[in-house]
C-alpha cells in the first residue's frame, strides 16, 4: 500500500513517473468503482495530461511541489474549471464551473493530479452518502455498509487505496465521521485556516475543507499545500502556514491530553466501543502523555445548536438555486415565482428541503431571537468550554463516532442520522481543528480516534496523531474487502 509521500518520493528518485502513478490510480479506481461507486466524475484524460506535464517539468529539473505526481480525488463540491461540479445535487447536475476553488488550484500547484470528483451527500447534508441525488457510495471494508458522510466518496476511495489523498469538507463532522468509517485519517482544520473560495457553500460559519489520507504524514503535507490566506475569502486568516511535517513526533512525553468526561459517560453504554477508546487512551499514556479529565458541559446542546445554525445558514446560501442563472430550471405556468418553486421542488432532495424549511423558520421574524440568536449564544458557551479545557490540556482525545459503519438504510429517521455527529459537532461550533485517526476495529469494522486542538494548533494535533499512528499502525494491520492491498 503506497502513501502519497511514498509515491512522491519514488517519482522524485526517478523510480516511477507521475503518469505511472496516475495510471495505477485510475486502474484501481476503475476496478473498485462497480462496487464502491465513489466517483461522480472521473477525469482520466485531464489527469494523464497533467501527469505528463509534471513528468516533463521534473525531467527538466524543476521543483514541482510537495505533492508532485501524487494522484488525488476531490469532493464534488469543489469547483473545478471546465469539469462538472454537482455538489451531489440534481439541481447542479450539469453545472460546469467557470473557475476553480482556491484549494483545487493550490493542490494542483503543489503537483497533485486530480483523477476525479467524489460522491457526497447532497450539498454536504448527511452522514452516510445516502443523500446523494445520484447513488449511494459503499464502504470498502464492507460494501453492505455506508462510507459515512458527507465526504463519503472521498473516504471510500482513500479507504480502498485507489488514491492516497482526497479532499473533503467538514461542517459538523463530514470529514471526521467518514474517515472513521473507512479507516483513513481525516482532518478538519481551524475555521479560517483554509480558503472557502469556490467551495459550494452549505453553512458558511462552519464549512471548512481538509484532507482525507492514508496516513498522518500525507495529511500534514496536504494541509500545508492547501492552507493559508486567500484574498478571495475574507474569512481566511492571514497567519503563516507551518511546515506541518516538521511537527510529527514519535513520543508524547510532556503532552497533556484531555479526556472529556461527558463523552466518556456517553460512550460507556457500548461496551465494545468503550473498550476500544479505553485502549486508545492507554496507548497515548504509554507513549508518555499525561491524561487529564476535562469537561465540556455544554456539548450535550451541540446537536440542538447545530441544527438551528447550520440550517439557517443553508437556507440563506441555497436561495441562489432558483433556476435563473445556472443549474436546472423547471418552468411553471409562465410565472417567475412558479419557476422558482417548481425548480427547487424538483432540484432538491428531501434532506435539503428539510433543512431549508427548518432554517427559514429559525430566521423568521418573531422566532429569530428565540432560536437563531439563542443558538449563537449557546455557541459562545461551547467555545468557552473548550477554552477552559485547553487551559489544563494541550489536546483533547475522544471518540470520533458512536458506532462502526452501519448498513445502508439503517438510519432512515433523520434525527437518528443527525445523532451520528454527536462527538464532532462541538469542535465545529467552536471552530477548532480536529481529526480522526484509525484506532482499531469493532467486529472487524474500523473506528477512529478524534484528536482536537486549540485554534490554529494543527501542528500539535498532527504531532500527537502521528505518534499514536506509528505506535499502533491500525491502517496497516488489516485490509479492506475492496481495494488495493
Amino acid at each position: 500500500m503506497l502513501t502519497g509521500h511514498d509515491i512522491r518520493d519514488r517519482i522524485a528518485r526517478r523510480e516511477s513517473t507521475a503518469v505511472e502513478a496516475v495510471q495505477a490510480a485510475l486502474a484501481a479506481a476503475a476496478a473498485a468503482e462497480p462496487t464502491l461507486k465513489a466517483y461522480l466524475t472521473l477525469t482520466p484524460e485531464r489527469a494523464l495530461a497533467r501527469a505528463a506535464e509534471i513528468d516533463a517539468r521534473l525531467a527538466r529539473g524543476e521543483a514541482c511541489g510537495i505533492l508532485a505526481g501524487v494522484p488525488v480525488a476531490v469532493k464534488d463540491l469543489f469547483c473545478t474549471e471546465g469539469v462538472k461540479t454537482t455538489s451531489g445535487s440534481k439541481i447542479l447536475a450539469n453545472f460546469v464551473p467557470p473557475y476553480s476553488a482556491t484549494v483545487v488550484s493550490r493542490l494542483e500547484a503543489a503537483g497533485a493530479v486530480i483523477i476525479g470528483k467524489t460522491n457526497m451527500d447532497e450539498f454536504a447534508m448527511g452522514s452516510s452518502c445516502e443523500n446523494s441525488a445520484f447513488f449511494p457510495t459503499r464502504n470498502p471494508w464492507d460494501p453492505e455498509r455506508v462510507p459515512g458522510g458527507s465526504s463519503g466518496g472521498s473516504a471510500s476511495t482513500v479507504g480502498a487505496r485507489s488514491v492516497p489523498i482526497a479532499l473533503g469538507t467538514d461542517t459538523g463532522g463530514s470529514i471526521r465521521e467518514p474517515a472513521s468509517f473507512c479507516n483513513v485519517v481525516g482532518v478538519k482544520p481551524t475555521y479560517g485556516r483554509v480558503s472557502r473560495y469556490g467551495i459550494i457553500a452549505f453553512a458558511s460559519s462552519l464549512d471548512q475543507a481538509g484532507p482525507l489520507t492514508v496516513d498522518v504524514r500525507d495529511a500534514a503535507d496536504t494541509l500545508e499545500a492547501i492552507a493559508g490566506h486567500d484574498p478571495m475569502d475574507s474569512t481566511s486568516v492571514d497567519t503563516p502556514v507551518p511546515h506541518y511535517a516538521a511537527a510529527l513526533r514519535e513520543d508524547l512525553r510532556g503532552v497533556r491530553i484531555g479526556i472529556v468526561q461527558e463523552f466518556e459517560a456517553s460512550i460507556a453504554g457500548d461496551a465494545k466501543m468503550a473498550a476500544l477508546y479505553k485502549a486508545a487512551y492507554a496507548e497515548l499514556s504509554r507513549l508518555g502523555a499525561s491524561l487529564v479529565p476535562v469537561s465540556l458541559a455544554h456539548a450535550k446542546y451541540g446537536l440542538a445548536t447545530y441544527y438551528l445554525i447550520a440550517p439557517a445558514e443553508c437556507s440563506s446560501n441555497l436561495a441562489r438555486y432558483d433556476g435563473a442563472r445556472y443549474g436546472v430550471r423547471v418552468d411553471g405556468d409562465g410565472d417567475v415565482y412558479q419557476m422558482f418553486e417548481q425548480t427547487r421542488a424538483a432540484g432538491f432532495g428531501a434532506e435539503v428541503k428539510r433543512r431549508i424549511i427548518l432554517g427559514t423558520y429559525a430566521l423568521c421574524s418573531g422566532y429569530y431571537d428565540a432560536y437563531y440568536v439563542r443558538a449563537q449564544k449557546v455557541r459562545t458557551l461551547m467555545k468557552k468550554d473548550f477554552d477552559d479545557a485547553f487551559a489544563v490540556c494541550d489536546v483533547i482525545a475522544c471518540p470520533a463516532v458512536s458506532c462502526p459503519p452501519f448498513v445502508l438504510g439503517a438510519k432512515a429517521d433523520p434525527v437518528a442520522m443527525y445523532l451520528m455527529d454527536y462527538f464532532t459537532i462541538p469542535m465545529s461550533l467552536a471552530g477548532i481543528p480536529a481529526l480522526s485517526v484509525p484506532a482499531g476495529y469493532v467486529d472487524g469494522l474500523p473506528v477512529g480516534l478524534q484528536i482536537a486542538a486549540p485554534a490554529f494548533e494543527e501542528a500539535r494535533m498532527l504531532g500527537v496523531a502521528y505518534a499514536y499512528e506509528q505506535a499502533t499502525r491500525f491502517a496497516w494491520s488489516a485490509s479492506p474487502k475492496i481495494g488495493v492491498a
Binding site: 475574507s234 410565472d335 412558479q338 423558520y361
Partner: protein
C-alpha cells in the same frame, strides 16, 4: 414529542419550494422529534451571554477599490438555462 410550532405551508412559501402534501406531513413528524432537542436550549440562561456569529477574530476586511478583470460574459452565461443575447432570460416579472 414536542408540538411542532411550524406552519410548514407558510414557511415553504417563504423558502420558495413547492412541497407535496406527503413531504409536508413527513417533515412535520420529523421536526417534532428535532424540536425535542431544540427545546432543551430554552432551559439555558443565556441572557448575558454574547452571541457568536463566527469564531475567528476577523472584522471588516477591506480591499482596494480598483478595477480588475472579471469573469468573461460568455463564460458566465454558459451554464444559464435560457439566454437572450448577453442576458439571462427568465419569465416575465412585471406585468
Amino acid at each position: 414529542m414536542s408540538e411542532v410550532p411550524i406552519d410548514i405551508a407558510h414557511i415553504a412559501k417563504l423558502a420558495r419550494i413547492a412541497l407535496t402534501e406527503s413531504e409536508s406531513a413527513a417533515f412535520s413528524a420529523q421536526f417534532s422529534r428535532l424540536f425535542d432537542f431544540i427545546a432543551e436550549l430554552q432551559a439555558l440562561d443565556v441572557e448575558h451571554v454574547p452571541a457568536t456569529a463566527q469564531v475567528i477574530p476577523i472584522f471588516n476586511v477591506m480591499r482596494d477599490d480598483t478595477i480588475r478583470e472579471s469573469l468573461d460574459r460568455a463564460f458566465a452565461l454558459r451554464n444559464a438555462p435560457d439566454v437572450e443575447g448577453p442576458y439571462f432570460k427568465v419569465p416575465r416579472i412585471l406585468e
